[in-house]
């Protein structure tokens, strides 16, 4: 027997509780609001935090995009899209600019988001101080006392060991000059996109039972020392082997036939869009050429 699920899977009581947590998160940017994370039909650690936010805010007229590490078609993104679509009937899209809600794992899309959009990020470890302190009640106190020496120490130790800050992703940020926040495992390349963003950014950690947010037009600063300034991944001189895009986040791949290193856009919908544009332009040129 297959039971009819309620709109957006959740009962209304669950939605209300999560909605209230989101409101507090927006009012206290960067602060991790505890919430009663629900059992979901996907495993914890597979985006349940993001999914719970998405299901609590989504309405009939919304258009949803889900990405997993930049890709619209990876298993995780597809499963989440299917679940939301089957329980709400909302329209799905791959195009960033057509979406009202974008749920994402570990990337912020290349195309600038707009005022009308909400991006929901999935978070595995919401606590930026967890590396220095295992006890939750102590890290909560550290946040309350504005004691972020631990966060600085992590970066300092990396400089001592490797000569630079070695955060590959999830580089901690100061939000609104008050809370140090884990921006979820987005590459450093995406950190500047959170600063004074046009879109509302919501972050959900299902396993850790925390929701936090960065409202639009909020100051977000990546932690860095004066003599070791914050830098993003550099892709200078490289471009995507498919769409020849540059100035975007590129994945490094090995061409199996030649054994050479090649680069490819991490944001698949951005790459596809550019390839289609290139094809259209080529066709247009050919058509125009044939008339001449």
């Amino acid at each position: 027997m297959k039971a009819e699920t309620h709109f957006a899977f959740f009962d209304e009581g669950s939605k209300k509780e999560i909605r209230r947590a989101i409101m507090k998160a927006v009012a206290i940017p960067g602060y991790q609001v505890p919430f009663a994370s629900r059992e979901m039909p996907i495993a914890r650690g597979w985006g349940t935090g993001g999914l719970q936010i998405t299901l609590s805010i989504i309405g009939k007229s919304d258009v949803l995009k889900v990405i997993d590490q930049g890709a619209d078609e990876s298993v995780n993104a597809v499963s989440i899209k299917k679940l939301v679509h089957e329980t709400t009937g909302v329209e799905l899209t791959d195009r960033t600019e057509d979406a009202d809600i974008i749920q994402s794992r570990h990337r912020i899309p290349e195309i600038a988001l707009t005022k009308e959009q909400i991006i929901v990020l999935q978070v595995p470890t919401p606590e930026p101080l967890r590396g220095v302190e295992a006890r939750e009640y102590i890290t909560k106190r550290m946040h309350s006392e504005y004691d972020y020496s631990g966060a600085w120490l992590i970066l300092f130790e990396q400089i001592m060991k490797y000569g630079k800050t070695a955060t590959a992703a999830d580089h901690p940020v100061y939000v609104n000059h008050r809370y140090v926040m884990a921006p979820s495992p987005i590459p450093r390349f995406d950190n500047p996109k959170i600063h004074q963003s046009d879109a509302l950014i919501l972050l959900g950690a299902g396993r850790e039972k925390k929701i936090y947010a960065v409202p639009p037009y909020t100051n977000v600063e990546s932690l860095a020392f004066d003599d070791y300034p914050f830098t993003v991944e550099s892709f200078e001189g490289m471009h995507c082997h498919l769409c020849s895009g540059a100035d975007v986040f590129l994945d490094e791949l090995i061409d199996h036939t030649t054994g050479e290193t090649i680069y490819q856009c991490n944001d698949t919908s951005y790459c596809m869009e550019r390839m289609n544009e290139n094809v259209n332009e080529k066709e247009k040129a050919e058509v125009e050429g044939s008339y001449a």
């Binding site: 309620h6 709109f7 957006a8 209304e12 009581g13 939605k15 209300k16 509780e17 909605r19 209230r20 947590a21 989101i22 409101m23 507090k24 927006v26 009012a27 206290i28 940017p29 602060y31 609001v33 505890p34 805010i57 989504i58 309405g59 009939k60 005022k115 909560k140 106190r141 309350s144 006392e145 609104n176 008050r178 809370y179 004074q196 509302l200 947010a213 409202p215 639009p216 037009y217 909020t218 100051n219």
Partner: protein, 198 residues
């Protein structure tokens, strides 16, 4: 037509969320208010906001002493319990409430603590017509440059509010609703400057 507990409340929530993340931005819930067929001594927008946010897990307070009927109705519709001002998660201010009562409530309400700043009260306040031509200048997260706002809150009440939000992250978050079913929010992060007052 009755309120659709699923879709009307979802739409109202998104409007409140939009306004809360963009202080000073006025949202209209006129479309959803049309489904309200209750006749209660409060604005339809107030009732819808309460129904959107309240349930059995939270408490609310109504300032006025002679609104037993409204308290009972809100309890019945949302299952939220009535609580004294210093315990309430939500504080509802009606048009009839006097400046002195509101001021006193602003001083007594929950504002959270440094460990748990989310354990603070959220206010749903009935105001005269809200507009962006006003005496208030808002800045802070969610406001790109500055925003202008007019509400029925007096200078003294804004000063009392500013006093309660001085020790950020401790503070209170305000939702204003008016007769035309408009909503505007002023969370604790917003710096509210009054014209002519420094």
């Amino acid at each position: 037509m009755a309120i659709d507990q699923v879709h009307d409340l979802q739409q109202v929530y998104r409007k409140i969320l939009h306004s809360m993340s963009r202080p000073g931005t006025i949202s209209s819930i006129q479309k959803n208010v049309e489904s309200v067929d209750y006749n209660l001594p409060c604005y339809d927008a107030t009732l819808l906001s309460a129904m959107t946010l309240l349930d059995a897990e939270v408490t609310f307070h109504i300032l006025s002493d002679n609104q037993h009927d409204l308290i009972e109705k809100i309890s019945d519709y949302t299952l939220a319990r009535f609580a004294p001002i210093d315990k309430a998660d939500f504080v509802i201010v009606l048009r009839e409430d006097t400046e002195a009562t509101i001021q006193q409530a602003l001083e007594q309400c929950k504002d959270g603590n440094l460990i748990d700043p989310q354990q603070s009260s959220t206010w749903i306040i009935e105001s005269s017509l809200l507009s962006n031509n006003g005496e208030l200048t808002l800045t802070g997260p969610g406001v790109q440059h500055t925003a202008q706002l007019h509400t029925s809150f007096s200078t003294a009440l804004w000063q009392a509010r500013n006093e309660r939000t001085k020790e950020y992250p401790i503070g209170i978050d305000l939702i204003f609703a008016d007769e035309a079913s408009q909503i505007v929010c002023v969370p604790r992060t917003t710096s509210v400057k009054l014209m002519g007052v420094n």
